[in-house]
């Protein structure tokens, strides 16, 4: 490939610059060189983009790549392939690997593997506490030096309130946001699904909505005291959203994300006892789902992140009580959002791009998520009208635990460029 690429005639959607018009985009030496209007090729390779959206590369700020430790579920390479297939140019793998990413060595290993895979920008999240044990802080300063841009014990809540206070205080010295997985361990106990009428009928142990919101409330109280940056992972309940809405009004430095599955599925889906509908937080009731949709519209939900959580089939094709929590999402996220948010007129195209690219970049302090001149040429080309079906055999992820296999969607990524390089084209993954 030449070092110049001209993307011609697409609809350029760049919420950071309030741009939504058709025009050309020139990429030179891995950076955005010119945007808008009609540009001449001047020796650049030309990509025809009529009918396509040209958007800043999508950022999934919540994935699990399982390497090191559970390479049978996913590796940094297979996860990277799934990411670019789904239109993502940057991802944040969580720290709950084996060993835990709570030290410089582990982070450097992940970065080295990411470089070797060479497909997608990987920003590893460092653990807040050593071994995710919730007892002692990780060497947060070292993690920052190693390249971490956020901290999280995701997968586990930080149950010790004093420790959470210190984490917020200490991380703020390095300007690192804490991504909180909110769950009261006592209310959670051995829960399997949302506590509600469906759990009552199915005889499955319930996880009450308040299990999440009570911890959201606690951490907002802490944030008021400590300052610092707090981001709530995978928010799933109406009450959590109310609390976050209030906090934002008061000007607290707080943000949150939700995952596509909470927007299109409810707890009723568990009635077939299929563990591909088991995740944590669990699929909630209709009222929660409605509140999430509203909060996405009005901006209380800043970001959409997939919580891509690969598991082997033997961990999923089992009784719900023992099945693993979580589903893969990198390859379905955009399709779900286009089909159920944009085509249903819940979000405008530019709003969706903001939730999936610009806002995550802002939350994380990344200089990405925009098509400004001089920005890294991370660009996704989206065909919003393309009808397609999610097929198990076509997944790039090493795992198959998705409840969306067999679903038909409208809209998908046609091309993913990372740093000016084509990493995915027409569904085919591979560096140009």
């Amino acid at each position: 490939m030449s070092s110049k690429l001209l993307i011609k005639g697409g609809r350029i959607l760049d919420p950071a610059n309030r741009r939504d018009d058709s025009g050309d985009l020139l990429i030179e030496k891995g950076k955005i060189a010119q945007v808008g209007g009609r540009l001449s090729a001047n020796g650049a390779e030309v990509v025809q983009a009529e009918g396509l959206w040209v958007v800043p590369g999508l950022i999934d700020m919540h994935v699990h790549f399982r390497q090191p430790g559970r390479e049978d579920k996913e590796t940094i390479l297979t996860g990277s392939r799934a990411a670019v297939k789904g239109g993502f140019t940057s991802v944040l793998p969580m720290a709950n690997t084996h060993p835990v990413a709570d030290n410089r060595g582990a982070i450097e290993f992940i970065l080295a593997e990411a470089k070797r895979a060479g497909l997608v920008n990987i920003f590893p999240v460092g653990a807040v506490t050593q071994g995710l044990q919730g007892e002692c802080l990780s060497e947060i300063g070292e993690l920052a030096l190693a390249g971490c841009i956020a901290l999280s014990d995701d997968g586990k809540p930080i149950r010790n309130t004093k420790l959470m206070r210190h984490a917020l205080e200490y991380a703020s010295m390095f300007s690192l946001p804490i991504i909180a997985h909110e769950e009261d361990p006592y209310l959670f106990e051995e829960g399997v699904m949302h506590e509600g009428h469906a759990s009552t009928v199915l005889g499955l142990k319930g996880i009450p909505a308040i299990c999440e919101s009570i911890m959201v409330a606690r951490d907002l109280e802490l944030l008021k005291l400590t300052g610092g940056r707090l981001h709530f992972a995978h928010i799933s309940t109406a009450r959590s959203l109310e609390l976050i809405r209030e906090a934002k009004k008061k000007g607290l430095a707080v943000s949150c994300e939700t995952a596509p599955h909470y927007l299109v599925l409810t707890d009723e889906a568990l009635s077939a006892f299929d563990a591909n509908f088991k995740m944590n937080p669990p699929l909630r009731g209709e009222a929660d789902q409605k509140a999430l949709t509203e909060a996405l519209k009005d901006g209380v939900v800043d970001c959409i992140a997939s919580d891509h959580a690969p598991h082997t089939s033997q961990e999923k094709e089992t009784e719900l009580d023992t099945a693993a929590f979580g589903i893969i999402g990198l390859e379905s996220s955009l399709g779900i959002c286009l089909t159920y948010l944009v085509h249903k007129n819940i979000l405008k195209p530019s709003e969706l791009v903001a939730r999936m690219s610009w806002m995550p970049a802002k939350v994380l302090g990344l200089r990405k998520g925009t098509l400004s001149v001089g920005a890294d040429a991370d660009v996704t080309l989206i065909n919003p009208e393309k009808k397609w079906t999610l097929r198990s055999e076509e997944l790039e992820s090493r795992s198959r635990n998705s409840p969306f296999i067999g679903w038909e969607f409208k809209g998908r990524a046609e091309m993913t460029l990372v740093g000016g390089h084509v990493m995915m084209k027409d569904g085919k993954v591979g560096r140009d």
Binding site: H197, S199, T200, V201, L202, E319
Partner: protein, 319 residues
């Protein structure tokens, strides 16, 4: 008569009132067999029924085994202690192995809700739920229905109270479905901590006052309280549970004269039921045990799909 067309019996939630009626009518026919000097019919000759029990059970397993034998099936029992699941084998693999031995019907009890549905989807053999977690225990509810109907000559319009640990009870859930589908009015009663959320949406009245559950009731179904629940803050002590929820002769003074008391067993005397009540005139606990065999014969017979002849024809050939 409506034909049975299900491979499995997983619960009563999915069944129509008509299907439940068909099971009960079939069970009445088998009750007649059980009164004969030779209590056996050849209906399932050449068929194999495997009992897979992952939880301790004496009466349900014995009842299924006897039911299968009365139908001339070959039976096989596999219990959790002998099973290879403890060696890390997943349930589905184990069941497939059993199926490969050409087992026609798998009767399973398992501590996880939904485990029978999981098997039913994976196997061609018929699967009969003998209790899955806190989800359903359909044959128990069916034998309760049979016992009530025998005594009361109807189900419709009866007032039935289910009392005890509703939250963890598969007997309660199957009971609610079966009774309400046949037109009974159901009340559930227990400490607030043991009443599942939004249970009223299942079409039942809810109370935590035992007097309210007893007054005006035609039938009480008392559930076994599991003693370990007191260790996880559901109620303070067994002693206090009994103080407020034990059905005693004194508490029955305001009850209807024709009251029936059921209990799925095994009973905790002096905890959910006073000994005088368990052994008293209202109690039909032993009828339940006898009816359990007839109901399970009916289920095994129906899921085995003995040709398309009705049960009457099959019974005729046995003479």
């Amino acid at each position: 008569m409506k034909k049975w067309n299900r491979k499995d019996l997983l619960g009563l939630e999915d069944l129509s009132g008509e299907e439940i009626r068909l099971i009960l009518d079939t069970a009445y026919s088998f009750k007649e067999v059980l009164k004969r000097p030779i209590k056996k019919v050849p209906s399932l000759r050449g068929k194999t029924v495997a009992n897979l029990f992952f939880e301790p059970s004496t009466r349900t397993r014995a009842s299924f085994e006897l039911a299968a034998k009365r139908l001339s099936a070959d039976t096989m029992n596999i219990t959790a202690q002998e099973s290879s699941l403890s060696k890390g084998e997943i349930l589905k693999d184990m069941a497939r192995n059993i199926e490969a031995m050409k087992v026609d019907v798998l009767v399973m009890r398992h501590p996880a809700s939904g485990s029978c549905s999981l098997l039913a989807k994976a196997l061609q053999s018929a699967v009969v739920n003998a209790g899955d977690g806190s989800h359903e225990h359909p044959t128990q509810a069916l034998l309760d229905l049979l016992t009530i109907e025998e005594r009361k000559k109807r189900i419709e319009g009866l007032r039935v109270s289910i009392i005890g640990d509703i939250l963890h009870s598969r007997v309660a859930r199957s009971g609610i479905w079966g009774l309400t589908k046949l037109g009974a009015e159901v009340t559930v009663c227990g400490p607030k901590t043991l009443l599942p959320i939004e249970v009223e949406k299942m079409g039942v009245r809810v109370t935590s006052r035992l007097e309210e559950a007893i007054e005006g009731a035609d039938v009480l179904n008392l559930l076994r309280i599991q003693l370990e629940r007191q260790n996880s803050s559901f109620f303070p002590t067994v002693r206090e549970y009994a103080q407020f929820f034990c059905v005693t002769p004194e508490r029955l003074q305001k009850a209807k004269k024709e009251l029936l008391i059921l209990h799925p067993g095994p009973i905790n005397r002096g905890i959910e039921i006073a000994p005088e009540v368990a052994d008293g005139p209202y109690s039909v606990i032993l009828d339940q045990v006898s009816n359990g065999i007839a109901v399970r014969m009916a289920i095994l017979f129906l899921v085995s799909q003995i040709s398309q002849t009705g049960v009457k024809d099959v019974l005729k050939t046995s003479h």
